[in-house]
Every structure is written in structure tokens, then in C-alpha cells.
Symmetry: none
Subunit: 261 residues, 2 copies
Amino acid sequence: MSAARIAVQRLSDTIAHELERRILDGALKPGDRLQPERELAAELGVSRPSLREAIQKLVSKGLLHSRQGGGTYVTDRLEAGFTDPWGDMLQKHPNLQADLLEFRAMLESEAAALAAKRATDADLERIGEAYARVEALFAEGPSARVFEEQVKADLAFHQTIAEAAHNVMFGHLTASLFRVTHEHIDLNLRHLRRLEEDWLRLRDQHAAIWEAVRSRDADAARVAVRRHIAFVEESMQARAQHEARESRTQLIRRMEKAESH
Amino acid sequence: MSAARIAVQRLSDTIAHELERRILDGALKPGDRLQPERELAAELGVSRPSLREAIQKLVSKGLLHSRQGGGTYVTDRLEAGFTDPWGDMLQKHPNLQADLLEFRAMLESEAAALAAKRATDADLERIGEAYARVEALFAEGPSARVFEEQVKADLAFHQTIAEAAHNVMFGHLTASLFRVTHEHIDLNLRHLRRLEEDWLRLRDQHAAIWEAVRSRDADAARVAVRRHIAFVEESMQARAQHEARESRTQLIRRMEKAESH
DNA sequence: GGGTAGTATTTGGTCAGACCAATGAAGGAG
DNA sequence: CTCCTTCATTGGTCTGACCAAATACTACCC
């Protein structure tokens, strides 16, 4: 079935590999500008389309970026890490974000309910500590200085609750969803920074969740989390309206144009 | 300042975005074959090189793969990112099965509830067909002759409902869990084969689920699925008692055998 | 009639050359 | 000297062609 899978390699893959090698070897340093496409294609002995396919692969990986008329450059912050497929899919497809939030609403509310039932004293202590950290950081208000820490503390709080559900599925799924959603939550919290009122509501919601779990009230925990995520969803929709619509219009125009032929 | 940063979007990015959308929307399902490049390019009103750049981006992301002369296909392990880590752990640690069932109870009951609310007429038709297939096969009773088909039909029924929830998370997760659990469900159904009474109950449960979804009763659907899975869990525990000794015996034999070398 | 080898078609892979559009530096006007 | 125009540079896109692998089809042979 998958016997001859290794066989041929696409030329664009070979080129992309070669460019990656040059970057990793230091021949191309972050911030450096690549040779013009025509020139580089000639040097590698390949056609420009093939070279371009390779470049686009690396662009989508985040290793290169190019400006029309300007040139192609090696990304200057390589340490930013790889962008995983799900990650940027989330940024570009708003309906996926909605799906994910809906899923999280179910996952985390149920996890909180289970945690309320099953948490050991040690679990409650951990959750309490996580909550205290969140509360302490959020008490400083929308401050850019501690923003990154606020996000981390927020995630850690939810994660700790999920782990107290004592079901590995909940723990692992929550963790992997957080990994995917991280920068996304980041954006959202950043958006909330300026709105003092929303900020206070967030703190109330955290407090309600913690209180419900601590008093072992499963139903209250479920409701509190659902309310929290509903609020997040609401604020996200508000932000979405602000953001300009994707220029998918461009594609539509082309499709119409194609149809008119 | 940050206004002109976004500037224009590369055409290949727009195309890649459109293809991703089709995949997420379900217009292109995992395993599906894309139209030929020339044809697709014409439909989108773009040139083949531009389309190719987009395809190569998605290939490098692992969303597509293409074989020269064969065609371009949507990768069928979209959800691998979530499943991979604990995929084989589940097989090694059977005690995690309880966790998985608990998770499935939540996932599928919620999916059924959403499906009851959101299913289109086409969805209901698909679910109805899936149910009819299940019912027809189960009507033959515990017969080894059609056993494998019964398992498949059963899974397809649940999967169809999950997809009718119109949330990619539910669809993908359900599919990936089924893949992990397949041989497990297989074992369980096989165990139920002999017990005529249990077999009838299974049919009743399927009927209840289908009826709840068809009548768009979200709460009833949720309850029906939870009851179904609770029943499965119950029967699994019964089976576990039977097989625990047996497998332990086999393991001990192996250990003795190994020691004797 | 059925299976098989050989051919034809489909389809992704690659190439060449051209034109467009954004960029940015050189050169001219004030 | 500053600002604006101009134009070569360079990425972005298109057309059309040919190659190679996979597949579909046909005709031949048993």
C-alpha cells in the first residue's frame, strides 16, 4: 500500500530542504535577504515556478516572508517556533473558533462538574493556589506589564480544574486545546484589556467557578463555566465585527470573472 | 502604524484559505480526491501555478497529499494532532477505557443534542438511512455472518449524528475516538452476541436515539445517548471480569516462557 | 468468455517566457 | 537641501507547453 511512498521527491520539496539547510547552516541568517527569485532559480538550476512553490512552503511555515517589489527575507524571530496547522487555521476561520468555543464550553463545564465531585483535598489546594495567582495578577487590572503572566495564570487555573476531574481524557484534551488556542486567548484577553467593566466580570466569573468547585457543587460549577465561556464568546463576536472581513472577496471576484467567460 | 501591515494578500494564500474552508465545511472530506488541477484552477478563476503554490502550502501543512498521475487527496488523519499522544496509551492501559467511555458519554450525548437542534433535512435523511441500515443488520440477530458489518453500521450511525451537530470538533473527535476504540467496540459487541436480551436492548436504545433526534428533542437525545453508553459500560464491566483472568493467565504464561529462555 | 498485455488518456510535475504591480533608489525640479 | 518624479528591480501572476507517473481502456490471446 504505502510501499513506494518514499520513491520520488517533489522538486519543490528538495529546494525547500536546501533553503532550510542554508538557513540552519547560517549561510542565511535571520533578517537576511534572499537573492532575487530569477537569480536563485538559475543558481539552483530550477525553474522559477518550482522555486516559488518551495518559497511559499517556507513562507507558510513562517521561515520566510516576502514583499512584492521588496524581496524575500528570512524571518528574524526564528525562535517563535513552528506554527502548527490547527493554530493558524483557527486565526483564519472564524467559524472554527466558534466551534472550538462551543466544544470548550462542553468540555470544561463537564470537567468542572466532575472536579467538584471528585477533587481530593490536594486537588482543591492546588486549584485554590491557581485561583489565588490569577486573582492576584488580575487585581493589577489591564496592565501590559503582567499581561503575559495573566494569560498563563488563567490557563493554568482552568487546566488545574480539568486535571481534578480525574479523567485523563479531559486533562489531555484540555491541555492540547489550550496549546492550540493559546495565542487566540491571548488576542482576546488583549482586547478586553481596555474595558474595565468586562475585566471585573472576568474576575467575578473566575471567583464563581472556584467557589462552586470548592463547595463541591457540580451543577453550579457547570453553570459557572458555561457562563464564563459564553461571556468570552460574546466578547469575541464583538471583536470579530471590528476586524475587517477577509479579502475572500478577491477570490469571489475571480470566480465570477471566470464564470462570465 | 499597524494599519498598512497587512497590505495585500497573496493569491495563493487566498486559494489555500478557500481550500481549507472547503475541508472544514465538509465539502471536502478526509480521503476525498480533489478535482484535477487544471479543472480546479478554472473553477476558481486562477492560473495553475497559483493553485499549485496553494496546494503545496497545504501539502507542507499535512492537509493534502498528491501523487503524480494519481491525483490530490485530503489527508485522512486530520485529527491526528489530538489523538497521537494518547492513541497507543489507551491500548496499553485498559483501565483508561473507563475514562474514555465517560468522555464518550459526554461527547456523543452533547453531539446528539446539538444534532437534534441543528440537523438539516438532508442530515436527518442521512441519519435515518444509517439507522435503517443498523436496524436491518441487527434484525438478523447475533450472527457471525454479518457481525463486522453490524459494527461498521453502528459506528456509522453514531458518526452521522456527530456530523449533524455541525461542529467540526465533534465530528473529528468522534471519528478519531472511534478509530482508537474500534477493536474495542468490536470486542464488546462480540460479547453481547450471545445474550438475546441485551441485543434487544441495544436495538431499543438505537431506536430511542434516532427517534429523539428526528423529533428534534435535544434533551431526549442527550438522555438516550447517555443511557446507551451507560449500558455499554455496564456490559463492559461484566465482560472485564470474564476476561481479566484469561488475559492475566496468558501474560503469566508468556512471562514464564520468557524466563525459561 | 475471461484474463492479460499493450496502448491511450488523465493528471500531477516542471519548464520557459511574458506582463503586471509594488518597491525603492537615482535623478530632476523647486 | 527637500520633495517629487522616474525607472530599474523584484515579487506576483498568467499562458502554454512538454514530461512522467498513474489509470482507464482496448484488443489480443488463451
